[in-house]
Amino acid sequence: MIHSLFLINSSSDIFLEKHWKSVISRSVCDYFFEVQEKAGEAENVPPVIHAGHHYLINIYREKIFFVSVIQSEVPPLFVIEFLHHVAETFQDYFGECSESAIKDNVVIVYELLEEMLDNGFPLATESNILKELIKPPNILRSVVNSITGSCNVGETLPTGQLSTIPWRRAGVKYTNNEAYFDVVEEIDAILDKTGSVVFAEIQGVIDACVNLTGMPDLTLSFMNPRLLDDVSFHPCVRFKRWESERVLSFIPPDGNFRLLSYHVSAQNLVAIPIYVKQNISFFETGSSGRLDITVGPKQTMGKTVEAVFVTINMPKVVLSANLTATQGNYTYNPVTKTLVWDIGKLSQQKLPNLKGSLTLQCGAPKPEESPSLNIDLKIQQLAISGLKVNRLDMYGEKYKPFKGVKYVSKAGKFQVRT
């Protein structure tokens, strides 16, 4: 399976290597560098590279390439999923998955990698088990450790690995018993020039933060479960009950986890919360262009639309922009050619507008391509699909937990074509 792992930063330095079988020389990464150079941008590096006797499967996260070396047939998704899992574990442990964090905690990283894979096959990947084996670093502990000389490897041997519910450890205790659920929905949409919807769908997740004592057994039910078209669960959810009763029944992991992700399709159901009128044109002569964008709220169900951003990737020939915004402010980065307009809250009365002229490179022909608008927005207290949690019940424990549900809608990949 996975033979070795190399971590490579953006300046092509291999700053960490780990081998699970016999050692493979780091020169194998030369194949990778070759491909990387050819691909140009980091995101265009193909995830699977054939390198002589080996295969390199890589992912790109937080400006780091995780390059794993494979010697024989293995499902590529298996490796990719695992590498992402490694990155997420680092994130979980160190708060960020950056090069400096990994370098600072190289010993813990090594211990983690050692536990996660045995002979290249995943062994312990549940974060609960890992945290029992290897305690995450924090400032207090590092101070204590340096004084007392104790270590951050757990003294107790993990029991979770042996239990039938590996995601939860035994003997959890809290003084405040709380369970919070965040319903987060993202709208993916493509609008065409005239503002009509080409494609729209809603992707949602329910992230949970559960701090409950003992072994609670939770049941979460929805007012309108039929909305959910396609779902994928955390392994703790009992699939049978979902199939038969459309309720989520589960023994939750301790702490933060993603309970469910779902998909709401059927185009007519998707309410697009804003509309955009735009006009970007370039003149044949005079090396200039004009830009005029108006954004307004639409179908927001009485909630305000907040944190609205409009991002435009301009053609390369655009040198600068001279615009006026009636609300918010704009910046134009002439290096990356991106125009960002930070609008803030949308109000019904006064529609924000951005208007002005663009300066093009002298002598360059009028650009053929038309830039598209990427829009970011947020609506609090609303799940745009209309999904509502009905109730949360707990069995198996005596106390009464504090329960809370929060709804947020965001723009996912929301794009307006021009």
Binding site: L16, E17, L77, E114, P235
Partner: protein
């Protein structure tokens, strides 16, 4: 710092070393200093030493051996996690010398009682295999054993080991197939992927193709792409006829229930959060499911498109392959493949591929509109790919060919050269299909030669003009003239086309172009590139008539202006599905090392009964028991040939046989309890046996002598033989009850049981005063309870001390702990005054010392009574040799071992005394033993058949140590207490 005795300093040093390893620096010089710390108490230091050791052991083999003993000790640790980690590190050390040690450790761990240790054993198998492939056969045995494991923890790992070591041994799966299917949903994610992939292959060899009947429909419903391949209609007809013939031969398809089981059990996994699992299920459905059911995977795959771009990349690759075969599946999700300007280029191109594959008459207009917006994109590679995609749509769907062509021609006026060039190439391909109608497009393109600089496009235009020079007779020579002027500055590919053009024009229109051609050929003659020089020489010979030129030049025109077939624009993903989807090989479209071909469906299904699992009873028992059972089925030890394999057991057999031979002598002392019939039966059996025994005697005369002599003399030997004898009768009894009708033998057993021997302790069930004259006592007869082997036989003696008759004695209303069962004795109709009657009832105590409560009823009264067994009565003797004993004991180490030091009581200082005390405290049998310092006993619990091993080791004076090994700790501890009491009194 490593030599320091402070752990914190050692830790600091190890951390630095590990950081060095992580950066890829060589730290091998420190090996001796580090290895010393392998036995360090601090866990973190230990772990870091392990990391170091695994990394460098290969380079420093000799020194690495120093650490092995630590791990060997760890393998025997009572803590399962320590055992597991010891095995894990031991197997990770790649030193060939320790292969035998590893093999031994793996074998032992494979039968460990902790599933976690067994999982580690499964992990260790591929490691050992890669170190020494010659161990394969032995490893396969271990794999076979582990495959039979029932825990989810082990399943994934062992299938992984199976795939690495012996993927060709598909026969090992048969018996475990259904179990794997049922466990699948509870296995951890990574294991699921491996199991699903393996089961896909398995199913391909074992089941019939569910789509045989629909295949012909598929061809009909999919005429667009398909037609091109069956060049002529005849062929297609033939194909269909063959199909029909095949259909006629076949019976209507019925899906194997096991096939259905697999599909049913994998379906929920489409909901997994792990993309790899979803993909694995998707490929399983794609390869195995009937056509109508494959659709379910589309939704899940579309969902994966939301994930990281790497995941998208792989999923799209697979979707692209699927869309070629099963277009309908993804049609409803067409819009999910629309492209955003923020997608990475490689994702865009793959989405484009999928969109192109999905295009058909109904949706082509929306797709083309979508394509139009893509052409305006800033990403030039993507635009080029879009133009090609348009070309492919145009070739596949005849209706839109003209629209596409017009659109492409418009692109020719695009400012971007790349776009134009790509359009030219695509137009060229399209024009080849119907050149007659499009001479104006060719003219338009001819004009472009002045502007376009991209060599491929220029070459394409020149080729087009040459090919269709008859349609543009006026322009062609002019183009050639221009080209001749710039010939020296052109790229090679263009030069070749110029020569081609010249030759073609020479043949069709030699008047105008003769000189130009000569000129071009002369230029080419002195070109730097030999290809061009060759081509020029060849063409000159061919077209310019000279004296020497042979027959070929006559046909020059035919050669150059032959009608060329139009190119087929097809997807690069066509036919990729001969690789298993989701595999690395599929992604690379090349066979990766270790790839297992997906076998074709078999013509006829192999025997499905191979997957039938034996009667579940046997799977519960340990393999040891199974073996014994087999022996019983055989006519008693009939051929010594077969027994000769394990000499050890053969010996013990002759032992027991000799015991039975001398049984008649021992009768008075103990076994008077046997019923007449059963003894007769057993004797008849014995006689048969004795004949054989005689034969054997001749063979093993010397052995016999040794065995028999002490058998009579030493008391404990005698005891041993006695217990042996009892066991034998027991076996015979079972045999009898097997062969003749069960019920009759049972009844006989009930009636004829006689009071047990005096050594057996009796307990009071009902005092005669509380029982109003009815006194009831019970004892544990230590006989097997024949109606149900899992029950303990309790002998109950009723005494009627009154003057009246007691009638209708029976049991009523038992109140039992869960799992416990009771088999009542037959009702006693009449008990005359002063008489005594004995009955036997069976109770399954479920291996606990919980009391069984029930009511004892007479015709007038009810009494509440309860029977509580001493722990020693919950077991029955097991006979094993010393070696077997040691082996079993080795597997019951750790938490399962309880030992206690004691001082022996006065009366049991010799061996005989100990044996007597122990056997009276617990129903176990003596195990022969070489040393006289130790007495060993073995038994198993009646209800669940768990082994109980007792060892009493005597030391100086009266000190001794008692050890009990038993998987059930409660039983172990209680037994220790009881025996301790018996021995110290």
């Amino acid at each position: 710092m490593l030599d320091s005795n402070k752990d914190s300093l050692k830790l600091e040093a190890m951390k630095r070393i590990v950081a060095m390893i992580a950066r890829g620096k060589n730290a091998s010089d420190l090996f001796p200093a580090v290895v010393k710390n392998v036995a360090c108490k601090n866990i973190e230091v230990k772990k870091l030493v392990y990391v170091y050791l695994v990394r460098y052991a290969e380079e420093q083999q000799d020194l690495a051996l120093l650490s092995i003993s630590t791990f060997q000790r760890g393998l025997k640790d009572p803590n399962q996690l320590i055992r597991a980690s010891a095995l894990r590190v031991l197997s990770s050390i790649r030193v060939t010398i320790i292969v035998p040690i590893m093999m031994l450790a793996i074998k032992e761990a494979a039968s460990d009682m902790s599933p976690y240790v067994r999982k580690t054993a499964a992990h260790a198998i591929p490691k050992l295999y890669s170190l020494d492939p010659e161990q394969k056969d032995q490893l396969i045995e271990v794999i076979e054993k582990l495959l039979a494991d029932k825990t989810t923890l082990v399943a994934g790992s062992v299938v992984m080991a199976f795939e690495e070591v012996c993927p060709e041994r598909i026969d090992l799966i048969h018996k475990n197939y259904r179990k794997l299917c049922n466990l699948l949903i509870d296995v951890e994610e990574w294991g699921q992927v491996v199991i699903i992939n393996m089961l896909t292959r398995y199913a391909r060899t074992q089941f019939l193709n569910p789509n045989v009947n629909v295949k012909s429909d598929l061809i009909k419903s999919n005429p667009l792409g398909e037609k091109a391949f069956y060049g002529s209609d005849d062929e297609e007809g033939k194909e269909e006829k063959a199909e029909a013939a095949a259909l006629a031969k076949r019976k209507p398809y019925v899906m194997d229930p096991d096939h259905r089981l697999l599909l049913r059990n994998t379906k929920p996994l489409l909901q997994s959060r792990n993309a790899a699992v979803v993909m694995a299920v998707a490929q399983l459905y794609f390869h195995l499911a009937p056509k109508a059911e494959v659709g379910v995977i589309a939704k899940a795959l579309v969902r994966l498109m939301r994930s990281h771009s790497e995941v998208q990349y792989v999923v799209l690759q697979n979707v692209a392959t699927m869309t070629i075969k099963r277009r309908g599946m993804f049609e409803p999700y067409l819009k999910s493949f629309y492209i955003r300007s923020t997608d990475p280029t490689q994702i865009k191109i793959l989405k484009l591929e999928v969109l192109t594959n999905l295009a058909n008459e109904t949706n082509i207009s929306t797709i083309l509109r979508e394509f139009q917006t893509y052409i305006k994109s800033m990403d030039k590679d993507f635009v080029a790919a879009t133009i090609q995609a348009i070309g492919r749509c145009a070739t596949n769907i005849g209706e839109v060919r003209d629209t596409c062509l017009n659109g492409l021609v418009q692109l020719l006026s695009n400012r971007d050269e790349l776009v134009v060039a790509e359009s030219v190439v695509v137009i060229k391909k399209l024009l080849q299909m119907q050149p007659e109608q499009h001479s104006d497009i060719i003219k338009h393109m001819a004009k472009l030669t002045d502007n376009i600089q991209v060599p491929m496009a220029r070459a394409s235009i020149l080729w087009l003009i040459g090919e269709y020079c008859e349609h543009v007779p006026k322009i062609a020579p002019d183009v050639l003239r221009k080209m001749a002027k710039t010939f020296t500055n052109e790229e090679d590919i263009v030069k070749l086309q110029i020569i081609n053009l010249a030759a073609k024009l020479y043949l069709t229109n030699s008047k105008q172009t003769k000189l130009l051609t000569q000129y071009v050929l002369n230029l080419a003659k002195y070109d730097q590139n030999y290809d061009i020089r060759d081509r020029a020489r060849f063409i000159r010979q061919l077209i310019v008539p000279t004296d020497k030129s042979g027959a070929l030049s006559k046909y020059a025109k035919k050669l150059f202006l032959a009608l060329k077939p139009a190119p087929v624009l097809e997807s690069p993903f066509k036919d990729r599905d001969h690789f298993q989807l989701g595999s690395l090989s599929h992604l690379l479209n090349a066979k990766a090392g270790g790839y297992q071909e997906l076998p074709d469906w078999p013509e006829t299904a192999p025997d499905p009964s191979v997957r039938n699992v034996e009667v579940p009873e046997w799977t519960k028992c340990s393999s040891r028991e199974k073996r014994k059972e087999k022996k019983v089925e055989k006519p008693f030890y009939s051929d010594s040939e077969e027994e000769s394999g394990p000499t050890e057991s053969a010996d013990s057999e002759s032992d027991s046989a000799s015991g039975s031979g001398s049984g008649s002598e021992s009768e008075e002392s103990g076994s008077g309890s046997e019923s007449e019939e059963s003894r007769e039966e057993s004797e008849s059996e014995q006689e048969d046996k004795e004949d054989e025994e005689d034969k054997r005697k001749k063979k093993k005369k010397t052995d016999r002598g040794k065995v028999k002599a002490p058998a009579v003399e030493s008391p404990e030997r005698f005891f041993f033989i006695f217990s042996r004898f009892r066991f034998l009768i027991l076996e015979v009894q079972r045999l009898a009850s097997d062969s003749c009708s069960l019920r009759t033998s049972c009844r006989r057993w009930h009636k004829k049981t006689i009071a047990p021997s005096g050594s057996v302790k009796t307990y009071e069930l009902l005092h005669r005063i509380t029982g109003e004259g009815l006194g009831v006592e019970y004892c544990f007869s230590r006989q097997p309870f024949s109606p149900d082997a899992h029950m303990v036989a309790v002998q109950i003696m009723f005494t009627n001390n009154t003057n009246a008759e007691t009638k209708n004695l029976h049991v009523e209303d038992p109140k039992l702990q869960s799992g416990m069962r009771i088999k009542e004795f037959p009702e006693i109709e009449l008990l005359p005054p002063g008489e005594m009657v004995t009955v036997v009832m069976g109770i399954d105590f479920c291996d606990s010392t919980q009391a069984a409560n029930f009511q004892l009823c007479t015709h007038i009264r009810k009494f509440f009574v309860s029977i509580q067994p001493p722990v020693g009565e919950l077991m029955m003797p097991v006979f094993m040799t010393e070696n077997e004993f040691k082996k079993e004991q080795g597997q019951l180490m750790g938490m399962n071992e309880i030992s206690e030091k004691l001082t022996l009581g006065e009366k049991c200082q010799n061996e005989h005394g100990i044996v007597q005390r122990v056997t009276s405290a617990a129903n176990v049998s003596r195990v022969p033993c070489g040393s006289d310092k130790e007495c060993r006993f073995a038994g198993k619990t009646v209800s669940s058949g768990i082994l109980v091993l007792v060892t009493v080791a005597t030391k100086e004076e009266r000190a001794a140590q008692l050890t009990v090994n038993c998987e059930k700790m409660v039983i172990g501890t209680m037994l220790v207490k009881d025996i301790l009491q018996a021995l110290t009194q």
